[in-house]
């Protein structure tokens, strides 16, 4: 059950979450230094990188689907906008002509360079940050335009319309006429990517290739959580529970749906930018509707309406598909060597079966509608009750 909190408990939980996040970030920073790319444990860092991308995507989708009750499937499209915006504005001028092989590049500057020239190394980092925020803003701007007609629709119709728009965005990105900007159907590369993120302090060199995506995801998710817990978040939930009543109680439906849609898309855009910097390429054909379904799956696995559920769901999903079940594709799994069964594609079979089991028997997902903090709080209360009874 969702625990009702007193203001005192709320404050404590906020601080607890804050410090837990700080501790986690510290741990990631440490792992980043300890695990070298050659180590077999490097998979853990890959999972953390990709997991944080998907976690942010899933949490932002959860804001829309879980909290506001708008069943939208346009996420891949907005991530695409984010990834392309980020990539285009961070390609260094030296490698621009090799990237835009067949076109005459229209954007002839990159934020890390512009800021880097003006302010030194700190400026380069700032440039990357500006590009990430711009990626979010672009996605939000597109979401606003798409939202104007689309948000009048409800449930399945909204899902179909947003899905369609996402596919249109992908097709437009691959359009030859836009080649000078998007490089047509060719991929974008050579832009600022995680493997290049380093902090040099005198003689010590800190690797930040996992820390940066995790940090961006953590900050973004924190902002989303703040939004969900604010008066706007409560209004979103009212819309989800009963639109007619929400409107009768003075909540402007069109406005609030638009806010939820654009904010969700903003963070989808940020996730797209992170995706680009983690994969170090951006290509429109990666952002198919299958990606939206994957994200939706993570939200459902974690429990619709639960932010911590979405985070847990996405890390589990990425870990399973990228790491734990890898052996199913390459011959040896759990020490069993059966190259005839465990060959390319078998992983997806097992994966589908797992998902079917989850959907059939754990319909609430891992967390249901609770948050981790609810579980923690309920435990704590039960313990206190026991203590009092003991006295």
């Amino acid at each position: 059950m969702k625990a009702v909190r007193t203001p005192e408990e709320n404050r404590r939980i906020s601080w607890f979450c804050f410090f837990a996040t700080l501790a986690f970030l510290g741990l990631v920073l440490l792992l980043d230094q300890l695990i070298k790319p050659t180590s077999p444990m490097y998979m853990l860092l890959t999972v953390l990188q990709k997991g944080s991308v998907y976690a942010l995507a899933a949490v932002s989708m959860n804001l829309l689907n879980g909290c506001t009750g708008l069943f939208s499937l346009g996420h891949a499209g907005f991530m695409l906008i984010g990834a392309y915006t980020y990539a285009i504005f961070t390609i260094p001028s030296a490698s621009r002509d090799t990237v835009y092989q067949y076109y005459d590049a229209a954007v002839r500057f990159s934020f890390p360079e512009v800021f880097g020239n003006a302010m030194g190394p700190a400026g380069t980092a700032l440039g990357v940050l500006v590009a990430v925020i711009l990626a979010g803003l672009m996605a939000a701007a597109f979401a606003y335009l798409i939202g104007l007609p689309v948000l009048r629709l409800k449930s399945d119709y909204l899902a179909i319309a947003t899905l369609g728009f996402a596919e249109i965005l992908r097709a437009v990105c691959q359009w030859q006429k836009l080649g000078p900007i998007t490089n047509g159907s060719n991929l974008l590369k050579s832009f600022a990517r995680v493997s290049k993120f380093k902090l040099v302090l005198g003689s010590t060199k800190l690797t930040l290739s996992t820390f940066v995506p995790v940090l961006i995801a953590a900050v973004s998710i924190m902002i989303i959580v703040k939004l969900i817990n604010s008066t706007y978040g409560r209004a979103f939930k009212a819309i989800r529970d009963d639109e007619v009543a929400a409107e009768a109680m003075g909540i402007n439906l069109a406005r609030h749906k638009m806010i939820s849609f654009t904010v969700s898309s903003f963070f989808a855009g940020v996730a797209g930018a992170m995706m680009a910097m983690v994969l170090s390429i951006a290509q429109a054909s990666n952002f198919k509707s299958a990606m939206t379904y994957e994200i939706l799956l993570m939200v459902v696995l974690g429990g619709i309406g639960s932010t911590s559920g979405s985070v847990i769901g996405s890390f589990l999903f990425v870990a399973a598909s990228e790491w734990w079940l890898r052996g199913l594709d390459s011959g040896t799994f759990l020490g069993i060597n059966a190259p005839n069964i465990f060959r390319n594609g078998f992983r997806l079979v097992v994966f589908s079966v797992i998902i079917m089991i989850v959907v059939l028997f754990f319909r609430q997902g891992i967390m249901g509608e609770r948050e981790l903090t609810d579980v923690w709080l309920n435990r704590r209360r039960a313990r206190q009750k026991k203590k009092e009874a003991g006295k």
């Binding site: 604010s230 409560r234 529970d241 009963d242 929400a246 109680m249 402007n252 069109a254």
Partner: protein, 283 residues
């Protein structure tokens, strides 16, 4: 009648036509500040439709609604409806003003629903608190980053005070749907009051209540009128309740108003008895 006071709600020639059916025909009424007015009528008479027009859920086909001295809704037969319009007074109104329900709520109109519409996944407290969202001065940014603490605290205190006044403090943290029926009704009224309305519209507040709960509700409605200084417009089937608390009554039958007046006048009205009271209210 409290004609000495300003008119809070006035409807003029409201007509609502769905396809070829005129659900409400030329309905005009007035309500003065502090009054309790009831709309009654047999099933399908168009009471709830009239309610939905007044609260902005439907745009009327023709007619005008004024609230607190301002015209808030006005419409005339347009487009296809121009040809197929069956009501009267076509051409009398020329403006088109179609606010969404939330605009009207912001002006000071709050309603409850015939089939209770509470936010199901939320507690009693949250249900009341969300109705305060409309009164916020914070924007998206300040609300997200916690720059509206003072306002938030004040809204929480107001919500708690309201819950206390309507006697729901003992179930404050319960899920709204886990309450017994009578308390759910009470909560819905509390939620409407949280928007600080001037006019409270109650759509069959006693529907599904047992006699004991109905008596309590009758008392409750009178109390909130005096305590919150609201005017009340209600639709009701329970004749005891209507005759007990309303100062004036409008009677609808097949969409048209057949009578209006004080409870005593209505009880004596032949037309009303024919249409409604004498036939259906035996039980």
């Amino acid at each position: 009648m409290r004609k000495d006071r300003p008119c809070i709600l006035k409807t003029e020639d409201i007509t609502m036509q769905f396809g070829g059916v005129v659900a409400v025909n030329n309905f005009s009424m007035e309500e003065y500040e502090g009054e309790i007015v009831a709309i009654i009528g047999p099933n399908g008479a168009g009471k709830t439709t009239a309610f939905n027009v007044i609260t902005g859920v439907y745009a009327p086909t023709n007619g005008r609604v004024s609230f607190d001295g301002k015209t808030v809704i006005e419409n005339c037969p347009r487009g296809k409806m121009k040809k197929s319009y069956l009501g009267e007074n076509a051409g009398k109104y020329t403006h088109v003003i179609e606010p969404t329900p939330d605009r009207l709520t912001a002006l000071g109109m709050a309603r409850t629903f015939q089939n209770i519409r509470l936010w199901k996944s939320m507690t009693v407290f949250d249900n009341v608190l969300i109705a305060k969202h409309m009164k916020r001065s914070s924007n998206l940014f300040s609300a997200t980053f916690g720059l509206n603490r003072a306002e938030d605290r004040q809204q929480r205190e107001e919500a708690d005070a309201l819950i206390e006044t309507v006697d729901l403090a003992d179930v404050r943290d319960e899920l709204s749907t886990s309450l017994p029926y009578g308390k759910q009704r009470r909560l819905e009224i509390a939620r409407a009051l949280a928007t600080e309305p001037k006019l409270l519209l109650l759509d069959e507040p006693a529907a599904g209540m047992n006699p004991q709960e109905t008596v309590e509700l009758t008392k409750f409605i009178g109390e909130i009128r005096d305590q919150f200084h609201v005017s009340i417009l209600l639709i009701e089937h329970h004749m005891d309740l209507v005759m007990d608390i309303s100062e004036r009554i409008y009677v609808l039958d097949f969409g048209s108003m057949i009578a209006s007046g004080t409870p005593a006048e209505i009880q004596a009205n032949e037309k009303v008895i024919d249409a409604y009271l004498g036939v259906t209210d035996d039980a």
